[in-house]
Amino acid sequence: MRTNSRNFYLIPYVLWIALFVVAPLLLVLYYSFFDIEGHFTFENYRNFFTPVYLKMTLSSFWYAFLITLFSLLIAYPTAYLLTKTKHKQLWLLLIILPSWINLLLKAYAFLGIFGTYGAANSFLDAMGIGSRQILFTDFSFIFVSVYIFLPFMILPIYNSLDELNPTLLDASNDLGGSSWVTFKRVIFPLTLDGVKAGCQIVFIPALSLFMLTRLIAGNRVITLGTAIEQHFLVTQDWGMGSTIAVFLIIAMVIIMVLTGRRKRGIL
């Protein structure tokens, strides 16, 4: 009786896992062994290790790294200061709120702000620097990406800062630690979990952005995501697209393993 009812709950869920988790991943792997005409081949993998794709992979990682780094540098102080405010839950909600606005709309807004006659250029003009090309540059791409990922970086760091036991800070103070030493030796190590989680949440999507590269970077930046989209929807070379996807999945797993051990204690 008990097993029966348990199986009953399992049916729809396991069906979902089989159909939408396991099958798609296997299909991607399967398709990576076929060329554009449908012949079985290892050609895609050989292609991936040519300079064109390796360079693209490298630059994709480089941009993702920069985006993660800047998000972290901005998010950590923000999260820290947020925990110090009154009504911190409300402020946190206000920080998170923009992330609920459709991503495309935010990207579109930057088309106006960074455009030739946009707000950013008017500002530069007023400062006496003069207007310049901002849209379709590396700067605009990284800025908008950081803008979009910032809330996702702030949230886990905020959570881990919030869980920090305040008596530890008092102890550090009593023992004569300056605020910098306290930060370096106590606060940061104890919130490393949140930092890792944040980096994971930002880095993986940053590897695979494609609409921002098209809208904001004007196709100048090509990430793994852009390449996959290109192969699947434009050139229709699903085999090569799948091969890149396989490498993206491998990269993802590595990142998860590196940043994943959240529950087991760090120390």
């Binding site: 009786m1 009812s5 348990r6 399992l10 729809p12 869920y13 979902w16 896992i17 939408f20 988790v21 099958a23 798609p24 991943l25 991607v28 398709y31 102080p77 923000t78 200061l81 947020l82 405010t85 839950q89 909600l93 206000l94 920080i95 709120l97 923009p98 609920w100 606005i101 991503l103 495309l104 709309l105 579109y108 807004a109 930057f110 088309l111 106006g112 702000i113 006659y117 946009g118 707000a119 803008y147 949230l155 886990p156 919030d162 989680a197 993986i204 999507p205 695979s208 494609f210 098209r214 809208l215 995501g225 996959i228 699947f232 929807l233 799948s242 996807a245 999945i249 993802m252 998860m256």
Partner: protein, 267 residues
């Protein structure tokens, strides 16, 4: 510490301004009679009028809402079943396996989900359009619902179930009269999260939508690629309003949980 009390407030204010600037920039220019996003010529409601006269766009909005509501409802059902299945799993190994499989779609980049679903649907022979988009949205919403519901089930004391059974309740009664009412806040939170994920999604939809069917995100993307048009601004103002209402609803639902970390998105 005491003398620099000003800069934290300044820093936080700056972050808030940057986070909200693009959104208000969009809304501000939606009232611009000039037709561009850089010179404000005069106040007008023309863009809103044009928006409401555009039946094609209204149908797209309707599609988006229908997809969101349907996919959120169905994924909530599957997700609750999944959460129950996971919590009933006695063996640690089974439980961990189910949980890891559950999280695959959450951490996977959208591009991979989109591309692999495209392969899947094409393999099955499903015509791309409403059904494929709906299935994809259900698929990526299920794990979110599971993650929102599972903690609620885990925190429920088993003695309540035993008490109900001692009092002669059937398993169905236990489910509908004890378990479901207890986890209702989690279910609602899951439903709202699924709803917003569905409304917000671009990348996955972009892959599995055919030629005839679009959702709002995809439509905004293709409009934005063509350049600035203030219809989108008017649309974004309305969406912003709608999102705020959703978030407030979600906030109050999770508030009722009285758990301090009711903000969601915590893996």
């Amino acid at each position: 510490m005491k003398k620099n009390r000003k800069w934290p407030a300044f820093y936080l204010a700056l972050i808030f301004i940057i986070l909200y600037a693009p959104i208000f920039y969009l809304i501000f220019y939606s009232f611009n009679s000039g037709g561009t996003m850089y010179q404000f010529e005069g106040f007008t409601l023309d863009w809103y009028r044009e928006l409401f006269a555009d039946t094609r766009l209204l149908i797209i909005v309707l599609n988006t809402v229908i997809i969101a509501l349907l996919s959120a409802a169905i994924s909530t059902i599957i997700g609750v079943a999944g959460a129950l299945a996971i919590s009933y799993a006695r063996k640690r190994r089974v439980k961990n396996t189910l949980l890891s499989l559950n999280n695959v779609l959450i951490v996977s980049p959208d591009v991979i989900i989109g591309a692999s679903f495209l392969i899947l649907f094409t393999m099955i022979g499903l015509k791309l359009g409403f059904v494929s988009v709906l299935l994809a949205h259900i698929a990526f919403s299920v794990p979110i619902v599971v993650l929102m519901v599972l903690p609620k089930i885990e925190e429920m004391s088993t003695s309540m179930i035993y008490a109900a059974m001692d009092l002669g309740a059937s398993r169905f009664d236990v489910l509908t009269k004890v378990i479901l009412p207890y986890i209702t806040p989690g279910i609602f939170a899951g439903f709202f999260m699924a709803l917003t994920y569905s409304l917000d999604d671009f990348a996955v939809t972009f892959f599995v939508t055919g030629n005839g069917f679009t959702t709002l995100s995809v439509e905004i993307y293709s409009l934005a690629r063509r350049g600035v048009s203030l219809n989108i601004n008017a649309l974004s103002a309305l969406l912003f309003l709608f999102t705020i209402i959703l978030v407030i609803g979600y906030y109050f639902i999770t508030k009722r949980n009285e758990k301090p970390n009711g903000m969601g998105v915590r893996q």
